[in-house]
Amino acid sequence: MMPFKCNAEVRGNEKITGDIWRLTLEVPALARVASPGQFVMAKGSKGSGPPLWRRPLSIHQVLDDARIQLLIKVVGPGTEFIAGRRPGETISLVGPLGRGFVLPEQSGNVCIVGGGVGTAPLFYLTSRLLGGSVKPESVKVFLGGATATDIMVLAKDFKALGAPVEIATDDGSAGYHGLVTELLNRLEPGKSWRVYSCGPHPMMKTVALYCLDRQWPCQVSLETLMACGISACLGCAVPGRGPTGLAGGGGYLHVCKEGPVFEAGEVAWEL
């Protein structure tokens, strides 16, 4: 599906926690075609900024083939502008962008590992998985956050999808006291797991290496700075592995084009 530019009308804007907001946008053309793991480039200013660049945001959920939802953590001027839009206002979007998650063709065990606002794309993924060949009882959702409030609303939403959720918090205020990656040890080692992950880079690295060790299929959604999101600037490079990867004598992967979702083995984690 080729990306396009459009104006999306804000239909709802819900505060999740202190600095996290969920926007509901009416934009059927996008909602109909966006697949889990894809993202949009949203204008984070009036006119030509600042900020100058658009901001990449994952598709958090698609409703009724007509609306999309974004989960936004305010970290700077761009996210502040976008998260501050009120119902009735419009936001300029370019999308759908990038290569999303590859959904399993058959049923099997699936593990979702999300960290903080990185969980955004995993929600749409999980609802599609459960709407498809995957049964709730063969799914495990591990969510990590700094503290309980960061993650409780999301955990509730995942549970509402029917998925069993386990939580880890840095401060122990909810669930396991520690890193979400440590929950991976709870997966029965005998089984094979298909793992999907999104979150801070160190978290994904741990997940990826854990899975590579066990030869479990694992897909991660990377984040980089992006100027365009449409593979025009080549700014979003990450070192790749294999024949076309840097580590294999080749070059860089482009997160907005070949990603943001990669197989764990495609990324040169050591670089």
């Binding site: 530019k5 030509s48 100058l52 370019v94 840097l246």
Partner: protein, 309 residues
């Protein structure tokens, strides 16, 4: 908009006539196909593709880009597919587009520029060559070429001697006297000059106490640099007789008019494509409106009409 509107036509580079003055700046428009869903590529004045070198280049390590006030720095490091892949993989698509295709080339040595020119001369579907002598990201060769008039003369002359295609020489703004390099390009036989490439800049992460670009320095582009670009276009247009192509921070049709009035026969849109991928076509529509509001006078009549008296 299938029919050509001759009121927008402009001449650049050795008899090459463009249907309109709106071109894409190298490195900000991929190889054209990335934008096929955002603009009607056939309508563009010309498409200039990402700079091509003889061999594929992986480019610089990340981070490669950083946002600045009304601008951005890039140190892509001229990542590109290399000449052979370009011809085999990218040209088939580009040949189907009605807009002229201009190939931006870069090399580490005179020989590389020459080989590129020769090989492109044998490739069909290429309307002109733009010689990038000014990219600040390549540590060998590139910088010296772009800032020393004698080298500019030499590169221009050797590219010209290997190709029958019109040659545009793209100048670096990181010089004391832009008229010297502009003149050198003209003397070397350039059919046109384009300017400006990016200004050498830097950004610092004060928390990490590290440069924000792995390459330490990068090229500044976007609205921030427009005043410098306009000044240099005006200065260069005052000394050369060949067409001048204006580049730097163009976002709107008003910006295009400013560059043309200052002396540009055509313009290139760069950073704006990254933010609003339909900029080129929007600007083109705006230019058409302008012509119509001005009694249908051809746009070329405004070139170099700046009144400084």
């Amino acid at each position: 908009m299938g029919i050509v509107d001759d009121r927008l036509q402009v001449d650049i580079a050795g008899g090459l006539q463009l249907n309109n003055p709106i071109m894409t700046a190298s490195g900000t428009f991929g190889y054209g196909n990335e934008f096929s869903n955002f603009v009607d590529l056939d309508r563009l004045g010309a498409i200039i593709v990402k700079g091509i070198s003889l061999k594929p280049r992986p480019g610089n390590p990340p981070p490669r880009i950083v946002e600045t006030s009304c601008g951005m720095l890039n140190a892509i490091g001229l990542e590109n597919v290399g000449l052979d892949n370009f011809i085999s993989e990218k040209m088939p698509f580009l040949r189907k587009i009605k807009a002229p295709v201009i190939v931006n080339i870069l090399g580490d040595s005179l020989e590389e520029y020459q080989t590129l020119s020769e090989k492109l001369n044998d490739t069909s579907g290429i309307s002109a060559i733009e010689v990038n002598i000014s990219c600040p990201n390549v540590k060998r060769g590139g910088v010296a070429f772009g800032t020393d008039p004698a080298m500019v003369f030499q590169v221009t002359e050797s590219v010209k001697s290997r190709t029958s295609r019109p040659v545009i020489v793209k100048l670096s703004p990181n010089v004391t006297d832009i008229t010297a390099t502009a003149q050198a390009a003209e003397d070397g036989g350039a059919d046109a000059i384009s300017l400006i490439n990016t200004l050498l800049g830097m950004a610092v992460d004060h928390r990490a106490r590290r440069p924000r670009l792995a390459n330490i320095v990068g090229g500044l582009s976007g609205p921030a640099i427009k005043p410098v670009a306009l000044r240099m276009v005006w200065q260069a247009a005052n000394v050369v007789r060949i067409p001048v192509i204006g580049i730097g921070g163009i976002m709107t049709v008003e910006d295009v008019l400013e560059f043309m009035i200052a002396g540009a026969s055509a313009v290139q849109i760069g950073t704006a494509n990254l933010i609003e991928p339909d900029t080129t076509e929007k600007v083109l529509d705006g230019l058409l409106d302008y012509v119509e509001q001005n009694g249908g006078r051809p746009i070329r009549e405004i070139i170099g009409t700046l009144q400084t008296g």
